[in-house]
């Protein structure tokens, strides 16, 4: 028997249900733990008849600061206002506007990633987040693929690092 009290689902022995290892990953097991109050032990009960669901195409996702599946460019604030683009259809760089679909992006609600219109792959920090280089890659919604737009910056949801032009150099083809 379980009780829902103050954001915890608890039993009479004082254990609570929790996300295993505290990792916010898809398919993560849910387990029983001694209560420690951390966020991975906290839950909301939202009744189905009150659940608003997620934003659909054209609606604004306020948590991510982006409209769902509404195409956009990413324009650098450096003086020449170059556009976020790809070289070798893989690695992210800044380039002058050229009309290619590699410069067109959209927010994909189901995966919570930003995708390219070129081949629908997602923004990705290389090597599963162990480097600083950006690329596009098959969508897996790992933490290294999830970004929000806030205060004119694209911020990784997990480590709070921001999208940055390498060295601040406003040069054609400079990596991001």
């Amino acid at each position: 028997m379980f009780r829902y009290q103050n954001n915890f689902v608890t039993n009479e022995k004082g254990k609570v249900i929790a996300v295993s290892g505290g990792l916010d990953n898809e398919n993560r097991n849910i387990v029983m733990e001694q209560k420690n109050g951390k966020v991975h032990q906290r839950w909301r009960i939202i009744y189905v008849d009150e659940y608003k669901g997620e934003p659909t195409k054209g609606q604004f996702n306020d948590k991510f600061g982006l409209y769902v599946e509404r195409d956009f460019y990413v324009v650098s604030s450096l003086p020449d206002n170059r556009y976020l683009d790809l070289i070798n259809n893989r690695n992210m760089v800044i380039k002058t506007k050229n009309g290619r679909r590699t410069q067109v992006w959209y927010f994909h609600q189901q995966s919570l990633t930003i995708r390219t219109r070129y081949n629908n792959q997602s923004w990705d920090i290389k090597s599963a987040g162990r480097t600083n280089d950006m690329q596009i890659w098959s969508t897996n919604s790992g933490w290294f693929q999830v970004f929000k737009y806030q205060g004119n910056q694209f911020i990784n949801w997990s480590n709070s690092k921001v999208l940055d032009v390498r060295g601040g150099k406003d040069v054609e083809g400079n990596p991001v």
Binding site: M1, F2, R3, Y4, Q5, N7, V9, N11, E12, K13, K15, I17, V19, G22, D24, N25, E26, N27, R28, N29, I30, V31, M32, E33, V39, H40, R42, W43, R44, I45, I46, Y47, V48, D49, Y51, G53, E54, Q110, L112, S141, V146, W157, S158
Partner: protein
């Protein structure tokens, strides 16, 4: 207790002792940033998953009679701690017994 004097079982409304509404389907939503929900997998384990509209395996409801939380997909399955509560594994079982685990 004579049957004609017994209070009827609660079948709707908030059960204040357990903090859940009776027989009203709900999502169990994690407070972690991605707001994933608890989903029953293949009739046993419960895992964290992205919300999918109308996926019954993500819906749960509180049965005020047995005091258990049951799956809306497999309605005879209820939340349970494996090994009579001696494990940390949280899952669902069909052998509802209303014991503390």
């Amino acid at each position: 207790m004579y049957l004609d004097k017994a209070k009827p079982d609660q079948t709707k409304g908030l059960n204040t002792e357990f903090g859940m509404h009776c027989n009203r389907p709900f999502y169990l939503v994690s407070r972690l940033p991605m707001k994933r929900v608890a989903e029953m997998l293949g009739g046993t384990n419960i895992t964290l998953k992205r919300y999918v509209k109308n996926r019954l395996a993500q819906k749960w409801s509180f049965d005020c009679v047995s005091k258990t939380v049951r799956s809306e997909q497999w309605k005879n399955y209820v939340m349970d701690i494996q090994n009579n509560g001696n494990s940390n594994n949280f899952r669902t079982v069909s052998s509802k017994n209303s014991r503390w685990w």
